[in-house]
């Protein structure tokens, strides 16, 4: 993990210099994944809070096929945990993406 890129400009955290094309890949896909994960997380939180709703009913019928019928409070708890986890994953993907920078980026001032 020791690298010459560490603390290049006094900023906290690690910077890794990558080629421009790879920087674009990281930016585009990490943002996409983060957005989808966070929005999906909120949808799950919504399903946890709302007694009725498409996601909740879909999951319930899916579990019904496996002949499982969890209680309402258990289902809500599962949805809430999954939603928070999804939001956390989205944030993590985004934050991890910020350490990859193209040449001459983040040298302060422009």
């Amino acid at each position: 993990m020791a690298d010459d890129d560490r603390h290049r400009n006094g900023r906290e955290g690690r910077d890794v210099e990558v080629p421009m094309r790879l920087y674009k890949t990281v930016t585009v896909f990490s943002t996409l994944i983060a957005v989808f994960a966070v929005v999906f997380g909120f949808l799950l939180l919504d399903a946890a809070a709302l007694g009725t709703g498409l996601i909740r009913q879909a999951v319930r019928s899916l579990l019904g096929l496996l002949s499982l019928s969890p209680s309402d409070s258990l289902l809500s708890a599962m949805f809430a945990v999954a939603g928070l986890a999804s939001i956390a994953v989205g944030a993590g993907v985004y934050v991890l993406g910020t350490r990859f920078q193209a040449a001459e980026m983040g040298e302060g001032g422009d």
């Binding site: 993990m1 020791a2 690298d3 890794v16 990558v18 080629p19 094309r21 790879l22 674009k24 890949t25 990281v26 585009v28 896909f29 990490s30 996409l32 991890l96 993406g97 350490r99 990859f100």
Partner: protein, 267 residues
């Protein structure tokens, strides 16, 4: 332009020569894997090229020609305020036409309590499907239009867009902002609740305070010196008949003049 594969940068070879933690390696590997399959970045680069090529075909504006962009760029979003007011006007017109299906401008006593006009408002707000939303959209678009028109006027003033040869359109704009406020005032009175009633009382007294023609103006606009059925009737006709025709026509002329004269360059 085509989406032929370019000479790919050797990502994996580059990753070998770099000291990366396992998490970083897995992260980059996953994103590269996705990129090779979905090629979103390639498409975005295509759009970027397209954007710059189209831009090269455009004539230079005054600001570009004299290199004023660095001083002037922060005004550019404010050039959208005119379109924004028009959009708010269209939204208000559509939602207002729909509200017109349910509203009755009658100051007569309603079956249960209050006046017919007010009981129709409560019907729209409480019983009508999407009625609360419909009236809220109408109210908010009206508020937004008033604000946007005012800010549009400030923008025109501070960029000097009213100057020769556009004086006529500036005067037309002043008429339009007054009529917008007229729209707001007449609409404000239509619910015929306490707020509306006393706002109407203020209107009557303001009219009466005009020298010489005050009484005549109060009679004409409010249908008398005290508020009643004629007042509500007149406000309704002003709001849904007279003003819509006049304002729509004037907006059309206002925009047509901008179209003919072009957007004013900053002075």
């Amino acid at each position: 332009m085509s989406l032929k594969e370019k000479d790919e940068h050797d990502h994996l070879g580059w990753m070998k020569g770099k000291q990366l933690s396992p998490i970083e390696k897995g992260y980059l590997f996953t994103l590269i894997w996705l990129d090779k399959r979905f090629r979103v970045v390639d498409y975005l680069e295509l759009l970027e090229t397209l954007y710059y090529r189209v831009n090269l075909q455009m004539p230079k504006s005054h600001t570009e020609q004299y290199n004023l962009d660095n001083k002037f760029w922060y005004w550019y979003p404010l050039y959208a305020l005119g379109s924004f007011s028009t959009l708010a006007y269209v939204v208000a017109a559509i939602s207002g036409a729909l509200l017109g299906f349910y509203y009755t401008p009658s100051a007569a006593a309603a079956a249960d309590t209050g006046t017919v006009a007010y009981s129709q408002i409560t019907f729209i707000m409480q019983d009508l499907q999407f009625g609360f939303m419909l009236r809220s959209i109408h109210r908010w678009s009206a508020q937004v239009m008033t604000a946007a028109v005012f800010l549009h006027m400030l923008r025109v003033y501070f960029t000097g867009a009213y100057k020769e040869p556009r004086e006529l359109n500036w005067l037309l704009g002043i008429v339009l902002i007054s009529l917008t406020m007229g729209f707001g005032y007449t609409g404000y009175l239509l619910p015929w609740d306490q707020l509306a009633y006393w706002a109407g009382q203020i209107g009557v007294e303001m009219s009466l305070s005009i020298p010489l023609i005050g009484e005549w103006v109060a009679q004409l606009v409010f249908g008398g010196f005290s508020l009643g059925a004629p007042t509500l009737q007149r406000m309704y006709i002003l709001h849904v008949f007279l003003l819509p025709f006049v304002v729509t026509t004037l907006i059309a002329i206002h925009i047509a003049i901008v179209w003919i004269q072009g957007i004013a360059e900053p002075h």
